[in-house]
Symmetry: C2
Subunit: 232 residues, 2 copies
């Protein structure tokens, strides 16, 4: 019987290694592996979005049969989970605990987080729906430590973390959804103009036409941090 290694075991074969064609034929494809599957899935997601990832296409691009994937992965959902976590790794400044500039550290990590997700817009939609992977937990852990060191009271710590989490999630999902197509943008602009009498304040402030997403993110983040850590 075959025992499906979709569990957390992950490590490659226990034998030596099935070894690629071992020096004989240059076999066009380098053999299936979890890493290759995830990497290719990310490529596919990047170019074709959430709906563009089909098990058959993924397998095709890997030079494998569709069902071969299921030896390495339990199901399609798991591909999503792995791709998501893979994209969220943080290589921050090494010795962040020694830093004196906690606010700079927080901002850096959060802006990097946002940048990661906007490089892979599908990830923004995935993150809030699924269990937290190791990389995102690491970011939260780092955030906890830094805020704690910055003087946020233990009683307020969770609220502060969730607030920042909410802010990042909201900002990235919103941004990612507006990025979709220029046609949509044009249509929205048109539609908004025709509704300007109903929404005068929105129209006047050009809320939906403002393109400075990056600036809005960091300014809003500043305000939020002001509220969370009032004493500067």
């Amino acid at each position: 019987m075959a025992a499906k290694r979709s569990g957390a075991g992950s490590k490659q074969s226990q034998r030596k290694t099935p070894s690629p064609p071992a020096g004989s034929e240059p076999r066009s494809e380098p053999a299936l592996s979890l890493e290759r599957i995830v990497a290719t899935a990310i490529e596919l997601l990047d170019t074709d979005g959430l709906d563009g990832l089909k098990m058959r296409r993924l397998a095709d691009r890997l030079g494998a049969g569709a069902m071969s994937l299921y030896w390495h992965v339990g199901n399609k959902e798991q591909v999503f989970d792995l791709a998501l976590d893979s994209v969220l790794e943080y290589r921050g400044p090494a010795s962040i605990d020694a830093s004196e500039n906690w606010r700079g550290d927080v901002v850096h990590m959060l802006e990097d987080w946002r940048a990661c997700m906007l490089r892979h817009p599908w990830s923004a939609f995935l993150l809030p729906r699924r269990a937290l992977g190791p990389n995102i937990l690491s970011r939260l852990e780092l955030l906890s430590r830094t805020l704690s060191r910055a003087g946020v009271a233990d009683a307020d710590l969770n609220v502060a973390i969730w607030s920042l989490w909410n802010y990042v999630i909201g900002a990235t999902t919103t941004r990612a959804s507006f990025e979709l197509s220029d046609a949509d943008r044009a249509a929205a602009q048109q539609r908004l103009a025709s509704l300007s009498e109903h929404y005068p304040t929105i129209e006047r402030s050009r809320l939906l036409l403002d393109n400075d997403w990056d600036g809005a993110f960091s300014k809003g983040l500043d305000f939020l941090l002001d509220g969370l850590v009032p004493k500067l």
Copy 2:
């Protein structure tokens, strides 16, 4: 030829009305209509989630053939859009512009917004992905006016609105995804415990075990408003 009335025309038939069986047989089902379709879609979404809405099931429940829906709706996506906007209507205090308590008004509207979405958890996932419907635009318009009246500078207005938007979106999608199943919760708890050595601060603050979502939301909102409107 039949001309599909899926456009914005929306209004019912131009003739008198096809009129229900007109007094003869009590025909078990009251005839298809956009309103009935949307209402039933919401029921289905509430009980079975985003993936539970299938055109065939929806039609079944309406006592109609699957393809009959497509006279009233262009496609499934449109059902989502209509259901979403339908769920977001706000009946706030009538004369809010006269209110002296702007902060109370903002908090009230945002907490109601959140409550609406958590009553229909699928809506949280839908909102950031789709074009803004009239009901959500109304909320944003109201928010704009109130903040403006509260003294937020025009230059900061958009940032403030987007910050609040981000906060609400993030909070509701996160909350909605945790609501899914008790089995998941138990599993997560288990997994977390086994990882406590890697994430000591998270573990210590019980970040992921804290169940006071409502309290966290309103406290975080307070902090955010503090930051947005520093002068009280």
